[in-house]
């Protein structure tokens, strides 16, 4: 009984790691952090399913690379993810803020200065949590972050409690498990001038998806962000928060786009938008592959 509870709490998706991380940011001296992160990244490499998912995605980006190269690249992805989680937790617990460099600053300024609501389309890349927390606090604008629910219920509860305790009330999290009620809520947020941040590289089981191409392979990408843009007439800003080094991040904002219905078939317009997003995603992921935290294979055949 005690062993099974421990196993659940310290399973891959367990709450134990999250609690340990929150405690760790108060206890680990910053100059020891590199060793602790390197060790925990190695421990998380024991997660076979995640390692295989990352390796499969890396083989899409680097076709024909050797097993050993893929293994070390996968370790780099795990280490980057550990740093991002740690930075996010440091911000929540201690308000430790990293340095920022903006690429596409004009687009970013347009986003934050606009009085209209906007969809921030991002990926499982770099530190999307930290970016959204920080900018919502500084801009004083309501932000709804759409994400998949945690696999473990108590992990989700812990994350929600911590967020309520440490972050601005302007940030809300919408779980994409309840897509109908969430869609109405998101349209309301956009119409009231708020932001909606959605990750556009992973399809949750309940969400609608469309086929597209990434690195020359067939993939399924979520159609939700584009359907939302079509319904609300909000602009979509592709935005990526990439970790460049210790306490240093790059915010890449690409030109905004809109999704309009041009004919009778709505799917044609959505497909065009999904394909354009796939090209943008591929360009950024190719350059910052070590920041792409996709632990499940994206290729349609592999994902099945």
């Amino acid at each position: 009984m005690i062993f099974s509870d421990f196993k659940r709490r310290f399973g891959v998706h367990g709450v134990g790691w999250r609690k340990l991380l929150s405690w760790g940011v108060h206890n680990v001296p910053s100059h020891l952090e590199p060793f602790v992160i390197a060790t925990w990244a190695a421990i998380f490499m024991l997660w076979r399913e995640g390692r295989k998912g990352v390796s499969k995605n890396l083989r899409l980006i680097f076709p024909g690379s050797s097993e050993i190269a893929t293994f070390f690249r996968a370790y780099r992805v795990f280490a980057s993810h550990a740093w991002s989680l740690s930075d996010s937790s440091r911000f929540q617990e201690r308000r430790t803020i990293p340095d920022w460099e903006f690429v596409g600053f004009d687009h970013f300024q347009r986003l934050i200065r606009s009085k209209e609501g906007a969809i921030i389309l991002t990926a499982h890349m770099g530190n999307y949590d930290l970016g959204s927390f920080l900018f919502s606090e500084k801009l004083k604008r309501p932000l709804t972050v759409v994400r998949a629910p945690e696999a473990e219920e108590d992990t989700g509860e812990f994350i929600d409690t911590e967020r309520e305790r440490t972050l601005s009330s302007d940030i809300k999290v919408g779980y994409n498990a309840s897509s109908d009620s969430l869609a109405i809520e998101l349209i309301e947020t956009l119409r009231s001038g708020g932001f909606v941040a959605i990750q556009g590289d992973l399809v949750s089981p309940t969400a609608s998806a469309m086929s597209s191409s990434l690195f020359g392979k067939k993939v399924r990408l979520p159609a939700g962000p584009f359907a939302l843009a079509m319904a609300s007439r909000a602009l979509i800003y592709p935005l990526f928060v990439v970790r460049m080094g210790r306490r240093s991040y790059r915010i890449i904002t690409l030109p905004p786009g809109s999704v309009h219905r041009t004919g009778r078939d709505r799917a044609v317009d959505l497909q065009r938008a999904v394909d354009a997003w796939a090209v943008q995603l591929e360009t950024v992921v190719r350059k910052y592959w070590f920041q792409w935290f996709m632990f499940t294979p994206v290729e349609e055949e592999s994902a099945r």
Binding site: V28, P29, S30, L32, E33, P34, F35, D99, E101, R246
Partner: protein, 189 residues
Amino acid sequence: MRWRHPAERSPARHKLALFKLTAFLSAVMQGSPQPREENFVFVLDEEQSATECYARGFALLTIVTAYISFFFQQLIPSIGFPTAFASGLAAAWVALNTVFLLMGVPLEMVRRAGLIELRQMGSIQTVTIDILVMLASVWAYVQDGWIHYAGVLWLSVIVCNGLAQVLVLLLGSRIREVEARLGGNEFVN
């Protein structure tokens, strides 16, 4: 080469006096800062410098490895230096990964008793580790053999940092002037 924001070399981004003083001297020698660009935000936090963090961490790993290697050689005289060093490195790695856990448990109890605050725990851990390494350095200093020089080196660093701290205190207002000139800190509430 990447363009460097003036605030990137601000003394305010360093904690250890040796690094703070070096950053101050470097800023003084480089003269007027370059114009600031909007698309960079540099935060002023004394633990912000990656150079200081990595240098401090690797120096600590090296010296702890040296002390443990010597201890292994004393324990098992038949092992050669390469074996002692490799096992010392592994032991030092484990030690640096677990020391905060070992100290963290009693600290957590003290915190729950209301004697310290959560934010103070990291500083207490840092000071405790520094004291332990300093005591180990004194032990190394009184030994014969190569470890004596490792002890001398670490104690010299401590003395140099102490002297740098005195200079930092004396140069207080000038350092603050340089920090203000270099800018940064846009995101601090």
